[in-house]
Structure formats: structure tokens, C-alpha cells
């Protein structure tokens, strides 16, 4: 920059060729990326749109024979009470498990953010659930939770009261059971993010508050929490999105049952498409859910961008 100002004419041609080189470099990277995304995503989005407007069943030979039905499929989906319930269940599941994960994860992170003996061991144990394959979580969950299984046995022995809920077969508690497994599986996520966040909180305001004689509760509430806001948002938003998409545990464990008790959106779409073979209805449903998720993701991204700026400021500036 300084060079440019001092010696305008020759520098500008050099600057021009530099800029051209950067542009060439940029497109040599981005062109294959865009081509690849276009090659996979465009046909997929086209097919999805096509099937959403054309009634196609497996009995028809090729896709082109499908009959154009306009918005019928969308009307069908939107008036389907099962779809409505699936939306409700998904939102409830995602909200509940996000809050659960966050509360436990944050509490553990808060208890652990100052160095103490055995910290590394606790940390290693606490992240193990996250490193377990979701399908494994489902099957291990079944081994633990069947009615005369170890969890009910342990609770009965420790409390002395007969404790025998049918975790997996009682429709009233099946969804909370999956939520419980989700919370077990993913509490490590907010835990590690909040731990990193707590470690990055600048020391000066905390020390100042301590010197001024603030109670630990007030320091937490009025100093640490506001400083942690970006990290909290980050953990909540990412966890919520993942929970909305949860499929492996719910499917492997209960396939939406008993009845429709655990039929969340991913499960209902899966059932419609691969068990009832209503590909067109499944596509219309996917389309609606995709639009819904895009709205949620765009809001999430807005939040994340804002919070990322705050984070960058706190860490003393990332490059972008």
C-alpha cells in the first residue's frame, strides 16, 4: 500500500497483474467446487420439484409418465394431521433436547473451567458419549432400558421403590426416552464449546468485579454470562439444527413407534417414501420441510454471523 502511494504509475500495473493473478487463482479453486455442487445439487433439486408436482408411484415405469397434479400434493401434505404432528414432535424434540444438552453441558463446563486435580480425566470421560456412533447409542439404549433391564433395576435398588417404566413401549414416554438418549449423546457438545468459551473470557473484568467485592453469583450473572453470549448462541443454534435432523437413533430404536409416538419429521418422510412408497408425497413433504429448514437456517446464520463478529472481537480479531 505504501509502495503504491509513493510510486503510483508502475505500481498500478503491478497491482493490476497481481489482481489478475489472484482472480485466476480464485477461479481455479472455485470453478471445480461450483461445478461439483451444480452437478449433484441441481439434478436433485430438479427431481424434488418435479416429483412434488407430479403424482408418481412405483407401478409407473419411468418418471416421465407421472401425471401433473399441480399443488394437490402440497395440499395433501398440509392437510395431513400426521404431518402436523410430526412438525410438533420435531420441534418439541429439538427444543427439549437442546435445552437439556445445554443445561447439563454448561453446568459441567462451569464446574470444570478452573484447573483442578483430575480435570483431564473428567474431560476425557465426558466427551466419550459424543464419540459413540448414534446407531450404537440406540442399541445400547435398548439394552439398558428394556423393562427388566439394568437402569430400572439400578433405580429400584438405589431408591428402594419399585421403578418399572416401559421406556420404549409406552407411547407417552417413548419420545422423552429418545430425547434422553439424545441428551446423553450430545451433552458433550455444549460442554466442550462452553468450556472453550469460559476459558476465553477475558480475565480483567472478572478480577475487577472480584476486587469490588461482587458475589460469585453476581459475577456469573452480570459479567461472565454477557461475555459468553456469542458462544451460548453458537452452542444452542448448532445443537438445535442437529436435533431437528436427528434420524439414526429414533429410527434404529423405534422406527417412529410405538404407534406414531416418535414419528418426527425425518422419520415420517422416510416412512412415506420408503415404506409406503409414496415418492411424490414424500417429495412434497421434503420440499416443505426444506423450505422450513432454510428459513430456520437463514435465521440461524444471521445470528451466527452477528455472534461471530462479537467472538472475533473478543479473541482479538480473526482475519475475516
Amino acid at each position: 500500500m505504501a509502495l503504491m502511494a509513493a510510486n503510483a504509475a508502475p505500481a498500478s500495473t503491478r497491482e493490476l497483474s497481481r489482481r489478475r493473478a489472484v482472480r485466476r487463482f480464485k477461479w481455479s479453486i472455485l470453478a471445480p467446487l461450483i461445478a461439483l455442487i451444480a452437478l449433484v445439487l441441481l439434478p436433485v433439486l430438479f427431481l424434488q420439484l418435479y416429483f412434488s408436482f407430479h403424482q408418481w408411484t412405483v407401478y409407473l415405469g419411468s418418471w416421465s409418465e407421472a401425471e401433473f397434479v399441480g399443488l394437490d400434493l402440497f395440499t395433501e401434505v398440509l392437510t395431513d394431521p400426521r404431518f402436523g404432528w410430526a412438525v410438533v414432535r420435531s420441534l418439541a424434540f429439538a427444543t427439549g433436547s437442546t435445552i437439556g444438552c445445554f443445561v447439563f453441558g454448561f453446568a459441567l463446563a462451569y464446574l470444570m473451567h478452573k484447573p483442578f486435580r483430575g480435570q483431564a480425566v473428567y474431560y476425557a470421560i465426558f466427551i466419550l458419549p459424543m464419540l459413540t456412533v448414534p446407531v450404537v447409542v440406540a442399541y445400547t439404549g435398548e439394552m439398558l432400558l428394556y423393562q427388566s433391564g439394568p437402569i430400572n433395576d439400578l433405580v429400584t435398588r438405589l431408591s428402594g421403590i419399585e421403578f418399572k417404566p416401559a421406556w420404549l413401549t409406552n407411547p407417552n414416554i417413548a419420545l422423552p426416552t429418545v430425547m434422553l438418549l439424545e441428551i446423553w449423546n450430545w451433552t458433550p457438545f455444549p460442554f466442550i464449546i462452553m468450556l472453550a468459551g469460559l476459558a476465553a473470557v477475558p480475565r480483567e473484568p472478572l478480577e475487577a468485579a472480584e476486587i469490588l467485592g461482587a458475589s460469585r453469583w453476581r459475577i456469573f450473572w452480570e459479567v461472565q454470562l454477557p461475555l459468553l453470549r456469542p458462544v451460548i448462541f453458537l452452542a444452542l443454534v448448532l445443537r438445535f439444527l442437529e436435533a431437528m435432523a436427528e434420524f439414526p437413533k429414533t429410527w434404529a430404536l423405534l422406527q417412529g413407534g410405538p404407534g406414531t409416538a416418535t414419528e418426527t419429521l425425518p422419520i415420517y418422510i422416510f416412512l412415506t417414501t420408503w415404506q409406503y412408497f409414496e415418492v411424490s408425497k414424500g417429495a412434497a413433504m421434503s420440499y416443505i420441510v426444506m423450505l422450513l429448514m432454510i428459513v430456520i437456517v437463514l435465521v440461524a446464520i444471521r445470528l451466527l454471523r452477528r455472534e461471530k463478529r462479537a467472538l472475533d472481537a473478543m479473541y482479538g480479531g480473526g482475519a475475516t
Binding site: M143, A252, T320
Partner: protein, 291 residues
Amino acid sequence: MTKSRRRRVSTAIRYAVLTLWAIIAFFPIYWMVATSFKPDTQWFAWPPVYFPEPPTLDNYRNVWFGAEQYAATQYAISSQKPLISLGNSAIIATTSTLLAVLFGSVIAYGVSRHRILSETRMFQLLMLRMIPPIVVVAPLSLYYAAVGLTDTFAGLILIYFLTSLPYAVWMTKSFIDEVPREIEQAAQILGASRWRTIFEIVLPLIRSGLVATFLFILILTWSEYLLALIITKTQVTTVPIELSKYQGSTEGRVYGRQAALSVGITIPLMIVGLIIRKHLARGFSFGMVRR
């Protein structure tokens, strides 16, 4: 006096709470391992058997090495298949992850140094990961069937590559941002081309970060379920799919066998995760939280 006592009490409470959670976190994993060593009479025994007695290796022998003597019984599942799917998983996960990290780190370099993607575009890239795969998986399977990618390595590798790219770009970028520019400027003044600068200066400097990114994405790819379930049929099943085949295929549950399989596919993941435990925060927050 009272202050030190209060501190001691709060320390005790802290250890108690942390230990309680450690038990909650660890017990299911213990149960999985314990069940994998139980003979079939103890799988559903009442009261539950907490310590396999006597421990047996039968489950492992049967599941992993197809040593099932009585092939007619209900839990004689295709012998030796798990080893094949373990190999498949290894090939698919490492290839797609390697490609994602390689390509992702070059993009990340471009973004970090020349802003080839604006911040908006960087966030749009996240959509590849954040939109749940279930909403595109049906048309994807039809498209794959049409172009012959169903049930192939290439098909799964391609889709895993695309879905892990956002993580790869964001995470490696957070490492590249930490490399001082002066080093590569010196290299360029000495006449190194941009590509040589990337591959011989910048990437070697962040190699531990690249390894962390690689292992991090490996964890996610290894345990992916839905896409693998739809895209694979019989040829290239991955380990989570192989495990789910043990469910529902028989009238009785085969907990011991499932557990032996679970242990086999989970332990590698836990080792990998513990190796990169310091970098997990960076990975899961798309590189937004550093540690």
C-alpha cells in the same frame, strides 16, 4: 477459617457432581462392553448381570470372524460380513475425508489470504451441512440410480465429500488464520509460485491442524447413517448399516452379538476422538471457537 472450610465444601460438591456425571456418561459404554463378553444366557437375565461371569469371547468370534458353528440358529448372520463393511467404512471415510481436507484447505487458504469467498458465501457454504439430509435423500437416491452411483464407493464418497466440505473449510481456515503472512510473502519474493507456497509452506505449517481436521471429519463420516442407509444396498455397506442389520432380522434380540459389533466400531472412534480432544471445540463450532 470459615472461608477455607467453605472452599473445601464447594470442592467436595464439585467432585461429587462431576463424578456423578462421569458415571452417567460412562455406564452405558461400560454396559456395552460388559454385554459383549456375556454368554447368551446372561443377555436378558433377571436380575441383570453386571459383571459377565464367566466372560466369554464367543460374541466377538461369532460376529467378527463368522465362527458360528450352528448356522441354522436364528442368529447366524452372514458370516464375516462385518469385516468387509469395516473395510468399506475405512475406505469411504478416509477417502472422502482426505479429499475434503485437501480441497477444503486450499479453499480456506484462498479465503484467508485473498477473500475468494465473502463472509456471506462462507456462511452459505454451511448450508451444505445444516440442511438435514433427509429432505434431499429421496431425489438423491433416484438421481444416483439414474447415473449408476447407487451402491458404489464413488457415490458415498462424493456425497460425504460435499457434506464435510463446510467443516473442512471452516476448521482449516481457523488454523491458516494463525499463520503469519510474512513467511509466505518471503517465499513468494524468493519466486515460489502460489501453489508451491500453499503446499510446501502453509499446509506443512498447519499439519497438526490438518490432522485434527481430518480426524474430526472422520468421526462424523464414520458414524453417518441415513445417507449410507439409502445409497448402499448390499455391496458397500458401512459399519453403522451392518450393525442395524442385526436388529429386526430375528425374533429374539441378540444383545451380546450387537454389543461385540458395537465395541468394534466404537473403540476406533473413541481413540481418534481422544487424540484430538483439544481440537473438538474448534471443529464443532466450525472453527468459530478456538482453543
